[in-house]
């Protein structure tokens, strides 16, 4: 049933184009909507959760099965995916007009993505996970490039594809290493069970780094976040769904999932926590400078993902501390999971708000917006709730998770592990700074869009409140924001606790794990930090216009985007210039490559492998005839090479050929001698034919030009082949099989000419194909000569 639930969106996607094509009167979104709703209901009935798994054999011989397992983490993500998915489909039904858009494409991509995402979070088999992982990248690529006639869309789609697939491939590498470490298993639960012995394994760190690279690229962590702002070219429902609530959290999921395996390593803690914190600060700082509503939300998503990531890193400390401390570090995981839910709710609603503003006014540029408060009161309310939750203001849910975040970071600063007591103080400070900017851009989001004086002249369209259907989804999310804010413990023991249990796999099995989230802890550090955030944030907002020139220091040329563009362009240009440098188009150059590589490889092999013993014991006596013939052949060869005229070269070559046939006579090979004689005659006449028909223009009789490189290489090849022949001849290890032929030619094949018997009888098979070669050559020549394109139609046969 669980397997079916995962693939049901993929199967349903098959039918969507038909619904789109044949039922044009109804918006296709309405047909799609029931599926995520049903799936959501299906997943929610698993509460309270008892983990269970299922396996459908796929390629059992390779250990790859469609093996699914539902624990707290998987369930939490499944609920997010299907829940937000339902709302997004509902929203998109009103957002995308059915007359203008290719809805069939849109919903197919969206369903593909939904199925892939469910597969990622519920797969227990790493190969299945990887498969779904790439499917999310792919469907996200399609969705970002949905308006493919726009150049920016294609650019954004390509960028996200390149970056996420880079991570995806490294993830595959990580999985393969883990599989090697585990002796061939691909089940993540098996890995967890075996992982105790792994930290000493030489592949442990490579596997960890590869998996982290996969997670960081997918979750848009520093410095791989650059694809996410460009992915905002997608339709807004897509941004809301993929780039705030689901896909970008696949990396978070991965880190959480692999925490039980890697958390024992200090590098893991430092990397996850450090990169997360860097992402938080960097992105929240840059979010405030954005002028595009969705750009602002994109950077805010990046920074919030960094926050969750750093919390997961802090949570990994639970695997180190003594049992008393564990619970304190575990609180970081609780915060991460809780913030994950909160972020999905408020960021989803904020994206929808941005979509509504865009839809109603025709622009998302906050320099042209303002004063929409009176026009869109409902949207404004939703925006305020979402923003304040994002900023971490009570009584919304963002406040709770922000408090827990501060608490966790303060806890980290006090840890006595991995030199955290020296550098740990950075974490609460950076977290606080990041939160100040988070507060600032949250205020900017609301303030620049809805407050201030209306500027109707700037708006492309006459705005009015969005239709009710479009408002349903954001209002539901806003209600959830308030609901989770006021009653956080609805979630704590049903959803959060099982998820945390999955992340800190087994640490609290004996004591049992319960989560309680409360609004008020007394006057602790985090309260003061929150107050500081609010005060300084408001101050910064008030004075924003006077200090925003600071951003000018971060010029476009120094940005990571510029780096990415340069790298992509340079790679293209450099590989082009490299190729055009060695692919000269001259056969001569390629011969140089081929022969020098041949020399290099063979010399290396001889030097490394052959213990140079030349045994001269089985050499025959040299007679005077052989010497004379060899001399003639040498003179012929030298004449061929040195000849000034082509005619001399041809004749000299013929003389070499006839000498060879004399050699055959001398070495008692009459058949060969006969054949060589005739063949040499024919080929010399063909050469003469070629010579005679050379075009007049290039017929200058010039000698061969001397080139040192050519000479060296040809001398090298000659010497090398001679050496190899000598070496091979001096190590004749086995007797020849010729004796069999000599003995049996008459006995078995009724012939006395052994050569001919071998040709037609013992090895007639070769001869059969040699005459085929001759036939092909003749037909080839016939075709070449006869099938010439008539003049003026030379392109016809190309």
């Amino acid at each position: 049933m669980l397997n079916l639930a995962i693939v049901s969106p993929l199967i349903y996607a098959l039918f969507v184009p038909f619904l789109y094509k044949y039922v044009r009167s109804i918006h296709t979104g309405w047909f799609v909507l029931p599926l995520p709703v049903l799936l959501f209901l299906y997943f929610i009935q698993h509460l309270p959760l008892t983990p269970y798994g299922q396996t459908i054999p796929w390629i059992p011989s390779l250990g790859m099965d469609f093996q699914v397992y539902m624990d707290g983490l998987g369930l939490l993500f499944s609920l997010l995916i299907t829940g937000i998915g339902s709302l997004v489909v509902l929203y998109s039904t009103y957002y995308l007009p059915k007359e203008k858009e290719k809805l069939g494409h849109f919903y197919v991509y969206l369903l593909l993505f939904m199925g892939a995402m469910l597969g990622v979070v519920l797969s227990d088999n790493a190969m299945a996970l990887y498969l779904f992982w790439e499917l999310t990248s792919f469907s996200s690529f399609l969705l970002i490039g949905y308006w493919n006639e726009r150049e920016r869309s294609r650019y954004g789609a390509q960028k996200s594809m390149l970056i996420t697939v880079l991570g995806g491939l490294s993830l595959l590498g990580g999985f393969l290493l883990l599989s090697v470490m585990s002796g061939g298993s691909y089940s993540i639960r098996d890995w967890m069970a075996m992982a105790d012995a792994w930290p000493q394994h030489p592949l442990f760190f490579p596997a960890m780094l590869l998996i982290l690279l996969g997670a960081f690229t997918k979750s848009a962590q520093f410095p791989f976040y650059i694809w996410l702002p460009d992915a905002m070219e997608a339709p807004t429902p897509v941004s809301a769904y993929l780039h705030s609530a689901t896909m970008v959290k696949a990396g978070i999921y991965l880190v959480a999932r692999f925490t039980p395996i890697f958390a024992v390593s200090s590098l893991w803690v430092w990397l996850v926590m450090g990169i997360g914190m860097a992402t938080l600060c960097w992105a929240s700082f840059h979010a405030a400078r954005q002028t595009d509503l969705k750009g602002l939300l994109a950077y805010s998503t990046v920074s919030q993902l960094g926050l969750i990531m750093s919390l997961l890193g802090a949570g990994a400390l639970a695997f180190h501390g003594d049992p008393g401390d564990r619970r304190l570090y575990m609180a970081a995981v609780v915060a991460a999971v809780f913030h994950l839910i909160n972020h999905a709710t408020f960021k989803g609603s904020l994206f929808m708000v941005a979509g509504i503003v865009d839809h109603e006014t025709g622009t998302r540029d906050i320099r042209r917006l303002g004063g929409l408060l009176s026009v869109m009161p409902v949207t404004f309310t939703v925006a305020v709730i979402g923003s304040l939750s994002m900023a971490g203001v009570p009584p919304f849910n963002g406040f709770l998770s922000k408090e827990m975040f501060f608490a966790a970071m303060v806890q980290v600063a006090n840890a006595h592990l991995f030199s955290l007591d020296v550098w740990g103080i950075l974490f609460p400070v950076l977290a606080w700074v990041g939160s100040v900017f988070t507060f600032l851009y949250s205020l900017l989001f609301v303030g620049k869009t809805f407050l201030g004086a209306p500027r109707p002249s700037e708006w492309p369209k006459r705005p009015h409140e969005a239709p009710v259907g479009m408002l349903v989804a954001p209002v539901v999310l806003a209600v959830l924001v308030i609901g989770f804010g006021l009653f956080p413990n609805v979630l704590s023991n049903t959803v959060i606790a099982p998820a945390v249990d999955a992340v800190v796999n087994g640490l609290f099995r004996r004591e049992g794990l319960s989560v309680h989230i409360s609004h008020w802890h007394g006057w602790t550090a985090e309260v003061w930090m929150t107050i500081g955030v609010i005060v300084l944030g408001v101050l910064l907002y008030r004075t924003f216009d006077s200090w925003k020139r600071v951003y000018g220091a971060f010029s476009q040329r120094l940005s990571l985007n510029h780096l990415y563009d340069t790298v992509v362009r340079q790679m293209e240009e450099q590989s082009y210039s490299l190729t055009s440098r060695y692919m000269t188009g001259y056969v001569r150059t390629y011969f140089l490559y081929i022969l020098s590589v041949m020399i290099a490889l063979l010399v290396a092999t001889i030097v490394l492998k052959v213990d140079g013993r030349l045994s001269l014991s089985h050499l025959a006596e040299v007679g005077i005839h052989e010497l004379i013939l060899a001399l003639v052949a040498l003179i012929g060869t030298a004449t061929t090479v040195a000849a000034k005229s082509r005619l001399v070269a041809i004749i000299a070559l013929g003389s070499v050929g006839y000498t060879v046939s004399l050699f055959f006579v001398l070495f008692r090979a009459p058949d060969l001698a006969l054949t060589q004689l005739v063949i040499e005659t024919i080929s010399v006449s063909l050469f003469l034919l070629c010579f005679y028909h050379l075009p007049k223009l290039s017929r200058h009789e010039k000698g061969v030009r001397f080139r040192l490189g050519n000479a060296l290489i040809s001398i090298g090849v000659g010497a090398l082949v001679s050496v190899i022949a000598l070496l091979a001849y001096s190590e004749k290890n086995f007797a020849s099989i010729a004796q069999y032929h000599i003995e049996n030619a008459y006995e078995k094949a009724a012939g006395k000419n052994i050569v001919n018997v071998i040709l037609v009888d013992f090895r007639g098979f070769d001869t059969l194909f040699e005459i085929c070669v001759l036939a092909i050559a003749a037909l080839g020549i016939y075709a070449l000569v006869k099938l010439k394109a008539p003049k003026g139609e030379s392109g016809k046969y190309e």
Binding site: L674, T675, A750, N753, V757, A775, I781
Partner: protein, 138 residues
């Protein structure tokens, strides 16, 4: 140019060359020779004709399509090989034996000769196709 001498000599010599070729072919299994060289020598005889006469005349003397000859030769070689399959032996297994024929008496026959005949025909066809094609080309 009067080519009387050349043509007369050709008329005499051609048959000798062809006979030599046939001799090479049939002797191949016992003495130097065989289908390949015999084919070349036969082609040489026809080339001599080409030198003495022109292409059209030679074609009317020997009205053979050499490209068809290649095909026939290949069929002979292949057929000889496939023939073995009928007797439940591997491809290209040859059979030989002594047969009493009327008039000729005791003759030793060998299927390898059929294979060699295929080689012979292909070589004649190939050589003549190449020479004729290039010779006809303007």
């Amino acid at each position: 140019m009067n080519e009387l001498i050349l043509r007369t000599v050709t008329a005499v010599v051609t048959f000798m060359i062809i006979l030599f070729g046939i001799q090479l072919f049939f002797a191949g299994h016992y003495y130097p020779g065989g289908g390949f060289i015999a084919g070349l020598v036969t082609a040489g005889a026809i080339i001599l004709l080409l030198l003495a006469f022109d292409i059209k005349t030679v074609r009317s003397m020997i009205p053979i399509s050499y490209r068809t000859l290649i095909g026939i030769g290949l069929l002979f070689a292949l057929g000889t090989g496939l023939g073995g399959l009928l007797f439940d032996v591997p491809f290209l297994t040859h059979a030989h034996g002594h047969v009493m024929l009327p008039l000729l008496g005791d003759v030793s026959l060998h299927t390898a000769v059929l294979f060699d005949l295929g080689v012979y025909l292909v070589v004649v066809g190939v050589t003549m196709t190449i020479i004729e094609t290039i010779g006809e080309d303007e």
